[in-house]
Symmetry: C2
Subunit: 304 residues, 2 copies
Amino acid sequence: METYLDCIPCFVRQALDAVRFVTDDEAVQAEVLRKVLRAASEMDMRMAPPAMGQKIHRLIRQCTGQGDPYREVKDRFNRFAMALYPDLTLRVARSSDPLATAVRLAIAGNVIDFGVNSTLTEADVRGVIERAMSAPLRGSVDELRDAAAEARDILFLADNAGEIVFDRVLIETLPTEKITVVVKAQPVINDATIQDARAAGLTDRVAVMDNGSDAPGTLLGECSETFRRRFHQADMVIAKGQGNYETLSDAERSVFFILMAKCPVIAGHLGCEQGSLIIQRTAASPPAIRPVGAAAGPDSETEQ
Amino acid sequence: METYLDCIPCFVRQALDAVRFVTDDEAVQAEVLRKVLRAASEMDMRMAPPAMGQKIHRLIRQCTGQGDPYREVKDRFNRFAMALYPDLTLRVARSSDPLATAVRLAIAGNVIDFGVNSTLTEADVRGVIERAMSAPLRGSVDELRDAAAEARDILFLADNAGEIVFDRVLIETLPTEKITVVVKAQPVINDATIQDARAAGLTDRVAVMDNGSDAPGTLLGECSETFRRRFHQADMVIAKGQGNYETLSDAERSVFFILMAKCPVIAGHLGCEQGSLIIQRTAASPPAIRPVGAAAGPDSETEQ
C-alpha cells in the first residue's frame, strides 16, 4: 500500500516517541525530529509507510550513535514470551482447533510493537492474549491450513522480537519441515533479527534466514537477491504484522497476512475495525511499475 | 512560552486537519503538508507555538487561494452564539456572582477553536457550557474584579469568532467604558477579526481595535506599533485563550489570562489537568533578548 496523508503526523509522533525512548538528550531529540520532518517533506508517497520508518530509525541510530537501541527491550520481551511459552503451547494442545488458537496467539503477540507503542508493558500483552482468545477473527483458518498442507515450502516472514516466540507456537502447529522463517538482517525498532530467532528457540526447529534489509516491513527492492528469489518461488508465504502488510499487500504473489489492525489507516485499508484480528490471503497483484534506480539490497545469509 | 517538542507532531496533525477542512483537493493537501513539514524542520523553537500556526495558515491560504477559509464557520458560530446570548446574559443576571458566571461562560466559549478541533459542533459547545458552570475554576475572580475596578483602561484581547459573543457577556459585567477589545487584523483560522466584533455587537458597546497581525495569538514583534504601545501602557490586560497564553505568558507586563487548557503541553505549563478552566494573572517578566531583525508589523486601525 502507498503512504496516506494520515501517516505523516503519525510518523512525526512515532519519531518523537522513538527518539525519547532511545535518549534523554533533548538536543539529539530535536535534531532527529528536524531531520525526520525534512525527510517527510521530501518523501515519495507511492512508497509503503515502512520506507519512512526505515529512514526514521536509521536517523535515530545515526544521531544517537546506538546501533541497536531496542536490544534491551527485545531481550526483555523474548524472555517474557519464553516464560509464557509453556502456557501458550498448552492452550494450543488443549484447544479443539489448535491451529485457530495458535493463529490467535500469534496475533496477540503482534501487539509487541515498539514502533506503534513505545510504552508497552508485559501486563498489556497478558491482557491482549486474553482478549485475542475470544475476539472475532476475520478470515479463514481453514484456508491457511489447506494451503500449508499442500505447499512444499513455506516462507514465514516474522515481525518483532518477543512476538517471534508466539510465532513459534504457530509454526509448531504447521508442518515445520517445510518452513523457513525470515528475519531482518539489521536492527530496526524491535523487529526480530537472527538473534531473536535464536532466543525464541526457532533456529533449532526450522530454517531461518534474513531478508538483507533493515526496513520495518519487507521492502522487496531493498531485500537481498536470495530472499527475493525465495519470496517469489515459495509455494506459500505467511507474513506477520502491519509492516509486512503495508509493504506486501500489493505484491506480485499471493500472501497470507496474519496481524492485528492496530492503526486506523490499515484498518481502513483492510475494511475492518481498529484492533481487529486478521488472517487475510491476498491475490497476486499484476507487476507494478518499479521506480527508476531502485537498487537491490546486499545478499543475505541463511542459517539452519 | 517556547515551542515544545510535543508541539511538532501536533502542528503536523493540525495542518492536515486544517487543509482538509479548507479543500478536498488531495494534491493541495499534500503540497501544504510538505511545506509545513519543511517549515517545521527549520523552525525556531524559542518562538511561541502560534508562530508556527501563523506559518501553517498562511501556507493554507496561499496554496488554496482562499483568503479567509474559515469565514463561513466564523459566521455560523457567531450566529449560534448570538442565539445563545439572551440565555447567557440571563444566567449571569440570575447568578449570585455574576462576574464568576461570566468568566465561566467566557471560558466555555473558548472551546470554539478550529485550530484545536476542526470538527466542533454546536452540540459540543452546549455540552461545554453546562460543564463549565460547575467545573472547578482555578484562579481568583476577585483579583480580576479588583484589578478591573482600579484600572483606568483595560485591553481585552479576544480570541475566536463565536467565542467573542461569550466574551461580550463577560465584558458587559466589567466597566465597559474602560475597555478596548483587540481582534486580529487579518483572518487566521477562526480567530475573531473586526467583522466578528461587529457581528457580536461589540463595536456598539466598546472601543475595538486590531493588533496589526495574522498570528493566532499575540506575537508582539509582529503587531502594530499602535497596539504594542497600548499593550504596554494599559493598566490591565485580559487575554483570552491558549494562543494568547502561549505568546504572552512571558510578557514584560502582567496579564490576566482566561482560558480552557485544551492541550496537554499548556496544561503542563500551567500545572493543571487538561480541560481545566483557568483564570491566571502572570507577573511581569524581565525584558527578553529580542531576536535580531524582528520587524515591527504594519500600523493598525482603531474603530469605535
